[in-house]
Symmetry: C2
Subunit: 229 residues, 2 copies
């Protein structure tokens, strides 16, 4: 199947790109700059990974998100909180309906480039604080994309039943160089090691039993994962 991959430059979407390149024909990668503190940094790696696989990447700028949307993830927002990803303080990093916007643009671009599927690296662990990662969102969104395009574009989520650690193992098996991926939300030149995504990243390598090639500013003990309520 001809597919377009949503590519942020993080370890999940980079693994999804390599996975899709093996399983499908990747006609495009969609990389989004939406005014987040870390976009400049992560998109460097997105571009490198697409180039590595000979995939045409499209840099899609959504400056109005950075200017008008309310979220601490954005350049105009407050500080990125430290701690575990599932803590309620991490809610302030939610960008309203981000996945809806990204998937919609990806669907339109996919149809324009002759693809019949869009690949998103959604996984079993990223539903907790983001309403636009939950199954209740993803299911109707996929249906809207299928019904709302002539090509009846499918939303493919190859990692949906995996944990982030399992994705790391898949990526590792596909030869992904994880030093060429980016997670940290803070926008610095080195991973901070303490924000939600850094904690998740460190935990994933640890649980997967894969050496973590990342340089972190701090490597204090990982915070305990909060219990599900």
């Amino acid at each position: 199947m001809k597919v377009l991959v949503l590519l942020s430059g993080g370890m999940d979407s980079v693994s999804a790109l390599h996975f899709a390149a093996k399983e499908h024909e990747v006609v495009a990668a969609a990389c989004f700059h939406y005014g987040a503190k870390h976009n400049d940094r992560e998109l460097l790696f997105a571009r490198r990974q697409a180039d590595l696989l000979g995939v045409r990447s499209y840099l899609i700028r959504l400056p109005f998100v950075g200017e008008e949307f309310a979220s601490d993830l954005l350049e105009n927002g407050g500080a990125i909180p430290d701690g575990h990803y599932e803590e309620s303080t991490m809610k302030q990093t939610v960008v309203p309906f981000r996945n809806g916007i990204l998937l919609s643009v990806a669907a339109g671009l996919a149809e324009s480039k002759g693809a019949s599927g869009v690949v998103i690296a959604a996984h079993s662990g990223d539903h907790a604080i983001y309403p636009d990662c939950r199954e209740d969102f993803m299911r109707p969104m996929a249906e809207a994309i299928r019904s709302g395009t002539y090509a009846q574009i499918a939303v493919l989520r190859p990692f949906i039943s995996m944990t982030k650690a399992e994705i790391a193992r898949v990526g590792h098996g596909l030869g992904v160089d994880f030093s060429q991926t980016w997670s940290c939300y803070k926008g610095g030149e080195t991973h901070c090691g303490t924000c939600g995504t850094c904690v998740e990243r460190r935990e994933a390598f640890l649980l997967a039993g894969i050496p973590d090639p990342t340089a972190y500013l701090q490597t204090s003990p990982l915070p305990q994962k909060p219990r599900e309520c």
Copy 2:
């Protein structure tokens, strides 16, 4: 209810803005420039109508649509066909998943501005050639927006059971000055009178029994509406 209105500057969305201003508290109007031939022209009227009602309008630029998407509606596309809106030749004016993209951005902006609803002027007559106007798209899209936002944003379609002529009557009753609205897809400074949207506009005024204040380049007899298959 606090709402955001999708406002193109056409007669339907302008009527929806006036309708929403009467029924709700309109906190914002979202106006999109996506590289269509007629965007510059229609958005002049969108801005004027929002200003008239004291509504803050947001001009949201999506230049990648104009640059990368495939559609004759766009500046990089072919000529706009003449004829009735439902003819199969009009398919070439479909912008892939446009309504999905616009609704998604509107939902995120609405949540950021404290609204709990987005108003779209979808009506009973605009399903024929556009997959992203059909009920099979709108129903799951609305569900995705409700589930994918903390505010559980509702998609409001006050005109969904009306024809365009009935919307014209509603707008007329609300005092809308239709000379300050724009429909033509061709991007000129005067309505052409012969493209799909001009034909629909002329027909709507005729059927509504309302004087058409529009200056058209051509006012040859309206083409016969094709029979539903």
